[in-house]
């Protein structure tokens, strides 16, 4: 970088042609995302559903009610559990993938992408068949003698996390594979040649270098699972209440748009806060190995 460019800052580096190219997207973003978001915020500061009296009554109602706080907590908790499960299952799968022959990689990639090719509604209803009282899983549990009677899996948080783990898995694996495929195998060989065990190589070399992919995967899975209205309502049923259900009920069933807007903004803000936290955490674990000597 030359001194002149550095002095001009980032604006100096952007030639006019570059920002002009970004203009259509910027305008579309402003018109179709920022403006509606502003509208949403405006709707939330009305007291009544006919939008005639401005006020913060709906915010007060939402934030003053412990029930809604627990809904926010459950929604974020669901996201974190799904992220943990997809990462735990997805990372070993990615390790298998990068070691596989090109032929197997093609087959694996097809299997990984397959869930994205079927509609989320179909995937979700398929999970009802798997998790139900007379579903595949329960028949196996009873046949193996693990439990005398079918266990309740549908409409439990565990069942929902299990289903979301499969449904959201491509979102974890695709960015993870993108990064891990570019890792230089020589680094792993060097680590082992220098005497590190395979576990040590995994935790000190492969994992930190894969961190950017892992973090992007976590972000996508988190944002997608916390807002997965169809899966949450069909598999979770109405026993489990999450923010998307509250938004749907308030906007479409009882027409209380201000409260729906409050819930929608709360979802946006709380999910964004977690996304920022996850990426900050990712930068820390991803940044550590660079220039830091490994201590014995």
């Amino acid at each position: 970088m030359t001194d002149a460019v550095a002095a001009n800052g980032w604006l100096g580096r952007l030639r006019p042609a570059e920002w002009q190219l970004a203009l259509p997207l910027t305008l579309a973003f402003a018109a179709f995302f920022l403006a509606p978001l502003g509208l949403l915020a405006a709707v939330s500061v009305f007291d009544d559903d006919a939008l005639t009296r401005a006020g913060f009554a709906q915010w007060a109602k939402f934030l003053g009610d412990p029930f809604y706080w627990s809904v926010v907590g459950d929604t974020l908790g669901l996201g974190l559990m799904t992220v943990a499960a997809t990462a735990l299952v997805g990372f070993p799968l990615a390790l298998v993938f990068i070691e596989a022959s090109p032929r197997w990689q093609r087959i694996l990639l097809f299997v990984i992408v397959l869930p994205l090719l079927t509609s989320v509604v179909v995937r979700t209803f398929a999970w009802i068949v798997i998790l139900g009282q007379e579903g595949v899983l329960n028949r196996a549990i009873v046949a193996l003698g693990l439990s005398p009677a079918p266990v309740r899996l549908l409409q439990t948080e565990a069942g929902l996390v299990l289903a979301l783990t499969q449904i959201e898995m491509p979102l974890m694996l695709l960015p993870l594979l993108g990064v891990m495929m570019r890792l230089d195998p020589a680094l792993r060989d060097a680590s082992e040649a220098l005497g590190a065990s395979r576990w040590r190589t995994l935790f000190r070399v492969t994992l930190p270098l894969s961190a950017p992919g892992l973090v992007s995967g976590c972000l996508l899975v988190f944002a997608s699972s916390t807002t997965a209205f169809i899966s949450q309502s069909v598999i979770g049923g109405n026993r489990l209440v999450y923010l998307p259900l509250v938004i749907w009920q308030q906007s479409l069933v009882v027409y209380n748009w201000p409260l729906a807007a409050v819930a929608a903004l709360t979802l946006l803000v709380s999910v964004s806060a977690c996304v920022v936290a996850i990426s900050a955490f990712g930068r820390r674990i991803g940044g550590a190995p660079v220039g830091v000597p490994a201590h014995g």
Binding site: F67, I128, Q133, G237, N238, V241, V246, S251, V254, Y255
Partner: protein, 342 residues
């Protein structure tokens, strides 16, 4: 080998195609109508039966927008006088909301040729009834003895196999009101339902999203639930073990109505469409499996799958006043979330 077409042959061919096209499409000359329709079986039934009938009788093309009742009102409200469809199809709750928020054009029943074929009182200044729904209890006869009343749902052996849904849907709301009434509640007081439900809540098999209930029943996730006769007939047609029971206090009936949207682009065609829907032949076709509608046209012969022998029996069914229910529904939904969920 090459296909050779000379200019004269080409012109003659195109002219013939054009003539055939014109002859086959007289409907476009009379325009179209856009109707909101419930997604799923209603949409399929209307595509298969109503659309061809309307094209034949009036030459009008039917376009459909699949939307649930509540979505239709929300969409019409958001459109502010520029609706994307001409005709609503609604349950009683959303119908009252629609009147309140003013998204309907005033309705003139006299414009319907088939008005005399439907029982009195089913058409008014806002719209006309085109089908009925009868709600009661459905159960799996292979797994459970027949329940006889609403209160049975909260007793063993039924409660531990019960599939519960909340106030989001019309059938859910009316069923919960009926349960509440058996324990001293009323149309405007569902407290007894919550009190009684709390005692047995841990036993309840399933608390589901309404759209998932049929699937949950089929999967054996629950063996007794409240639902309408149409769902029962449809599941039965698929070979599911399911029977409908009229509770001792009476089954609940409510009407599905059609309304012309305020600012509709094709108001005249909207009347023609509604007239077609209530015509004898269309209603007779709609009551057959797999559609299983409950008709409103008196000239239609009722089948054995329906819970009544004549439409006059409908007068004896339990009815509700949605202008009283609507204002309370938001608080009931919130209470259901807080007390029954989790």
């Amino acid at each position: 080998m090459s296909l050779r077409i000379n200019r004269r042959g080409f012109l003659a061919g195109t002219a013939a195609l054009g003539a055939a096209g014109l002859a086959g499409r007289p409907a476009f000359a009379k325009g179209s109508v856009t109707a909101a329709i419930y997604p799923g079986s209603w949409e399929e039934a209307f595509r298969g039966i109503v659309a061809p009938a309307l094209a034949k009788s009036d030459g009008v093309t039917l376009e459909m927008q699949p939307l649930y009742a509540v979505d239709q009102i929300a969409k019409a409200r958001a459109a502010r006088g520029q609706p994307t469809f001409d005709v609503f199809v609604l349950d009683p709750g959303p119908r009252v909301s629609g009147i309140d928020v003013g998204v309907f054009e005033k309705f003139d029943p006299k414009k319907l040729k088939n008005l005399s074929a439907i029982p009195g009182g089913l058409a008014d200044e806002w719209g006309v009834t085109i089908a009925a729904q009868v709600v009661g209890i459905a159960y799996n006869p292979k797994k459970l003895p027949a329940p006889t009343s609403w209160e049975d749902l909260l007793k063993d052996p039924w409660v531990s196999r019960l599939g519960l849904t909340g106030f989001q849907t019309t059938f859910g709301t009316v069923s919960i009101i009926e349960i509440a009434k058996r324990f001293g509640g009323s149309e405007t007081n569902v407290d007894p339902f919550f009190t009684e439900m709390r005692k047995v809540l841990s036993k309840v098999a399933t608390i589901g999203a309404p759209q998932a209930m049929a699937g949950l029943f089929q999967q054996g996730q629950c063996d007794v639930l409240y639902t309408n006769t149409q769902t029962v007939s449809t599941l039965k047609g698929r070979g599911v073990d399911i029977e409908f029971v009229k509770p001792a206090s009476g089954a609940v009936a409510f009407f599905t109505t059609m309304h012309v949207a305020k600012g509709a682009a094709e108001p005249e065609n909207a009347y023609k469409y509604i007239d077609t829907v209530i015509s004898r032949d269309v209603q007779a076709a709609l009551i057959k499996p797999p559609w299983n509608f409950v008709p409103v046209n008196k000239e239609v012969t009722l089948g054995p799958a329906l819970p009544m022998k004549s439409l006059d029996e409908m007068a004896g069914f339990v009815r509700h006043d949605w202008s009283k229910i609507n204002p309370l529904r938001a608080s009931w939904i919130e209470r259901f979330n807080k007390e029954v969920a989790k």
